[in-house]
Symmetry: C2
Subunit: 375 residues, 2 copies
């Protein structure tokens, strides 16, 4: 496409700042390069977009996905080494097998003996190896077994030749507020996953892959001794939650929603825009952070924050902009039709509300990159 | 399609209980029929689905939409009388004009003199009538002018022949908890919109359409004197928020998400399922209601609630089920692979996460109805 002005877009529209995205990708690459024994396995669930994926990982690089649809789409696009990092439901194994037979090196995860039995039986019946990681819980926030749970060895045995390693995700790091807190999560994540790997090896089992990571812990880890791969996803776009965690700054956020002013409420000091929760998502991830950003931080059309303006409440197609300090907004500063950019709380959730990224370079729309959705 | 078992669906999947939906549609029709001078103008933003729309409204019936994409899709499907009930941004007028020229009776809304001027100028330049309602705020929750604001007359004059009436939406009724509170919102909504209509008429201006409504106030209004049309949308599916408002009961909710158990966390009493926020949406609309349902209420595969189980926290593709009372869940009751149904907080938000409805009748999947998204 030819370059076009932001005015050519119908609002609300999803914008992707290419320069910021490339800098974010480079930052993570540089961090990973400090650990030559570790491979970076980017998570593509945030972008679900082939042109973005190509900037993040080459076809020979390992990738992570959150749905089998992502696995199928990215495999069609040429990626081969794919980790599906959500506990497998046995009914999904035929779709995994179809990918393996089509040439993908698909890896799955699980954390129970029942699932390990289902996988081992399925693999035997289908005469197929189904590479499997045992999920380890290093911060108590979701699934996985404790690093010292003897069940790990039992599951490993039951998996037989399908066992390839262990995986953890310190999603709890999203509760961190300082670099020091993030580093503590990173140590916990590393120590736990290495302990689990050691337990398997001590029992005479194989553990080739020792996988950990989240955007905060991947960016701030100081030691990855014993780890073989590092996963992270949201770092490519960053968002207000990551800024609140201190994993990035607000001006590193590459994604935003372009919106138009559709009304004023001078007696309340409000501005109404056409970015409601259908555009921003209902994610309120900054609600419990030091700075509650409502449904998003308001910037001018060039992406510079405007004082302390946020979308403080939202209906399906309406956003209400107020000042965090309660100062009424002067409607004359924002006539009807004024275009604003809103930085999102959570890139994964906001991007999922749109069919495509409008890629911005030097203030112009230079490309439209489709993204996919669903399962 | 042939009828199929729920087991044939890949999880997570969106289910629509046809019998419940038809009963919900009938309930609203019966309520509207009590007011023979009032036309029901269903809002189709919740379903965004042509087969659902056909059950809700005939092609000659008036409909409401929240995006111009809905207007275009439903017009293509045969609907003509379409109200776009979000304050217009002037840059959207060419899309409105294209619909009018294609034969749609498109009505738009606005609440400022600046927008009225833009509409009047556009209509004059294009030699087109652009039927317009002035938005009135009867409960202080969003856009619109106070019913006694003299600006209403000024805007009406500026609109000239484009003025066709007034509109309000008592979205504040979602904060009600009892039928009596809903009735109070309905009275406020009616009194306010009729006052605004009277002000226009007293000034010698036309006011053919006097439009009000929300699912709670439409279902419980006792008087609609002076009102010409009633709008509501979520009533077709209902949801946990509406149950919390007392506008429906939990067993009237027609929409749910089918999910599979993918893990247990016995030491915490948790169950993990493959319906995270990507499936349920991030909507936490019951958070401030008497009964906080987390991300959704857990039912068995037939749709019957299981004690007080809810999805209490969610990641992108993981839901964590706990008991509201804190009682640990016995994992043996829910083996890996068990299928459950989750009732959503907010039908509009959850349905928007999926590409299609799997229509359920007598416990079988009898149809797949596509829905659309975006703007």
């Amino acid at each position: 496409m030819q370059s076009a002005s932001l005015d050519s877009l119908f609002t609300p529209a999803l914008l992707l700042d290419r320069a910021r995205m490339l800098a974010n990708i480079e930052r993570m690459r540089a961090q990973a390069a400090r650990f030559p024994h570790v491979r970076l396995r980017p998570h593509l669930k945030t972008n679900k977009c082939i042109p973005v994926a190509r900037m993040v990982a080459g076809e020979d690089d390992p990738i992570t996905v959150s749905t089998l649809q992502e696995a199928e789409r990215f495999h069609q696009a040429g990626y081969r080494d794919i980790l599906y990092a959500v506990g497998i439901a046995p009914a999904k194994l035929p779709r995994v097998a179809a990918l393996i037979r089509a040439g993908a090196q698909m890896t799955i995860i699980l954390d129970s003996l029942a699932t390990a039995e289902a996988v081992a039986e399925f693999a035997g019946r289908e005469e197929l190896a189904v590479p499997t990681l045992i999920e380890i819980d290093t911060d108590g926030h979701r699934g996985g077994l404790s690093p010292d749970d003897p069940l790990i060895v039992e599951i490993g045995r039951r998996l037989g030749p399908n066992l390839v390693g262990v995986l953890t995700h310190a999603g709890g790091s999203y509760d961190a507020r300082t670099h020091e807190e993030i580093r503590r999560y990173a140590r916990m994540e590393r120590d736990g996953i290495v302990a689990a790997a050691t337990m398997l090896r001590d029992a005479g089992l194989t553990c080739k892959i020792v996988s950990m990571g989240s955007t905060p812990t991947a960016l701030f880890a100081e030691s990855l001794d014993g780890v073989t791969e590092l996963r992270a996803g949201v770092y490519v776009f960053q968002d207000l939650v990551m800024a609140g965690v201190s994993a990035c700054t607000v001006d590193e956020i590459a994604i935003s929603v372009l919106t138009s002013v559709i009304g004023h409420k001078p007696e309340r000091g409000w501005l109404l825009v056409d970015a409601g929760w259908m555009a921003m998502s209902r994610d309120r991830g900054t609600q419990n952070q030091a700075m509650d950003m409502g449904f998003g931080l308001v910037c001018d059309r060039y992406g510079t924050p405007i004082g302390d303006l946020v979308i403080s409440s939202a209906n399906q197609e309406h956003g209400i902009i107020t000042s965090r300090s309660g100062q009424p907004i002067d409607p004359d500063r924002f006539p009807i039709g004024t275009r604003l950019r809103i930085l999102p709380n959570h890139a994964c959730a906001t991007a999922a509300q749109f069919p495509a990224y409008n890629v911005i370079a030097d203030g112009l729309v230079v490309a439209r990159w489709e993204r996919f959705s669903h399962w």
